[in-house]
């Protein structure tokens, strides 16, 4: 039995208020090709919670985020919202989350504002309403001055800020952030921390993989190294 599962507070009854259900992972196993990346990984994330993923390179932080996003299917284990498995309705699961990965998904020939309009439309937002949200998102990451430049002129940090502005342009309860601050300067990191704090205050959840320290109140840390399979854990068919 895993230590995390024996924690008596882990499966406490859900509160009676209309809070969004918790995101619960039980015994997740991730396999990439023939390599077992992690096994037996469990966590629980409640409304307003933050989970910081730490671990060495290759310990599976990015894989876990892709797995939670539903882009990657777990080899074993389950992911659920309260009692409802996420895999039961992947489209509904996708609507619950934002994923900001290593790649910023910006087109060199388009401007940050156009990218945000496109992403909002892709998530089903109607234009006049989404424009307000987009302006707010651009302002939150201090992008107003460069909002109408082609993305090919932007630096790595500016590009990352545009990708992060997506989080605010369309609301979604769960943010999956993969090394969000790796290219950000101090001011932008402060803005990111403020955006995350605001999101959590409204009951949002954050899962974040990072190497650089980031200031988040009451964040739970999940060290992925603890779930790296030992050599004798390997399935003999897989290990050779």
């Amino acid at each position: 039995m895993l230590p995390a599962l024996t924690d008596p507070t882990l499966f406490r009854a859900p509160a009676a208020t209309a809070r969004p259900p918790d995101l619960i992972a039980e015994g997740l196993v991730c396999r990439r090709g023939e390599r077992l990346v992690f096994a037996g990984l469990s966590f629980r994330l409640s409304a307003g919670g933050a989970l910081i993923l730490t671990g060495a390179n290759g310990s599976g932080k990015s894989s876990l985020l892709r797995l939670v996003s539903g882009l990657l299917a777990p080899a074993a284990g389950r992911l659920s919202w309260g009692t409802i498995p996420a895999a039961a309705d992947l489209a509904a699961h996708h609507a619950q989350l934002h994923y900001v990965g290593h790649l910023d998904a910006l087109k060199p020939a388009m401007t940050p504002r156009e990218m945000l309009v496109f992403w909002s439309a892709l998530r089903g937002q109607k234009l006049p309403r989404s424009e307000l949200a987009i302006d707010r998102a651009l302002a939150a990451f201090a992008l107003e001055a460069i909002a109408d430049w082609p993305c090919r002129w932007l630096s790595a940090g500016q590009r990352r800020r545009v990708a992060l502005a997506r989080l605010l342009a369309v609301p979604a309860p769960l943010w999956l952030l993969d090394e969000p601050s790796s290219t950000l300067d101090n001011d932008s990191q402060d803005r990111l921390e403020a955006a995350i704090a605001g999101h959590r205050a409204k009951g949002g959840m954050v899962m974040l993989a990072t190497h650089t320290p980031i200031a988040l109140d009451a964040a739970v840390s999940l060290a992925l190294d603890a779930f790296t399979p030992q050599p004798d854990d390997f399935d003999p068919d897989v290990a050779d």
Binding site: S69, A95, G101, M110, V117, L122, R123
Partner: protein, 221 residues
């Protein structure tokens, strides 16, 4: 629906701004067709006899040239992850991308074909059928091509692999497309060819996005 239109418009906008994609496809089409009179000789009887085949094969190769740009840029910059995570079903996302691909490649090919028809001595009365056959057939080229483009996503030497996969699948479209032009030139009536060409494109309409989406999901794993 907002997502479908958004993706369609974005792809069109990218094609217009970058311009080179459509331009290259058209330039390739013109050059490939113009080469034939040099190789085969300028005699109208000889050229006119093979003209339908030339125009269709060249259109097919020109469409092939742009297929690797269908998903590759979105795959490389992470945009495909976001498209897969959006409420728009991946099948419809593929359909939107195919529609944009057709408007930026297939449609211009069909529109320049009358000028090229003169270069290779197509019977004047068959030129209308040529344009119509390309208008009906090129959406099929985009749709069938999307399956191969999705399957070869991330592969080394993608371009070569893609051609090997997709060219055999283009054969039915080529047969009935060129057949329609030939029937119109001979005066035997291209109706049957048009119907079969339309049937192929219509069959590709639901089947190809479904297959492409499955291949894309595999590529994103």
């Amino acid at each position: 629906m907002a997502g479908f239109l958004g993706l369609f418009r974005r792809d069109l906008r990218l094609a217009m701004r970058q311009g080179s994609d459509t331009g290259l496809v058209l330039a390739f089409y013109v050059l490939a067709v113009v080469l034939f009179p040099f190789g085969v000789g300028p005699e109208p009887e000889v050229l006119g006899r093979v003209a339908a085949g030339i125009l269709w094969v060249a259109a097919l190769l020109a469409a092939l040239l742009s297929l690797d740009r269908l998903f590759q840029p979105d795959f490389e910059d992470g945009g495909l992850d976001l498209i897969a995570l959006s409420p728009l079903p991946l099948e419809f996302a593929v359909l939107a991308k195919c529609a944009a691909h057709w408007v930026s490649t297939g449609l211009p090919l069909a529109l320049v074909s009358p000028a090229l028809a003169l270069v290779v001595d197509v019977e004047p009365r068959a030129i209308g059928s040529l344009v119509l056959s390309l208008l009906i057939g090129t959406p099929g080229l985009s749709l069938i091509g999307s399956v191969a483009a999705a399957l070869t996503l991330g592969a080394r030497r993608q371009g070569v692999l893609l051609s090997l996969l997709v060219l055999p699948l283009y054969v039915p479209l080529l047969i009935f497309g060129a057949g329609a032009v030939e029937a119109a030139a001979l005066g035997t009536g291209p109706r049957a060819d048009f119907l079969l060409l339309g049937a192929l494109t219509l069959a590709a309409l639901p089947l190809c996005p479904w297959a492409s989406a499955a291949a894309l999901r595999q590529a994103l794993e």
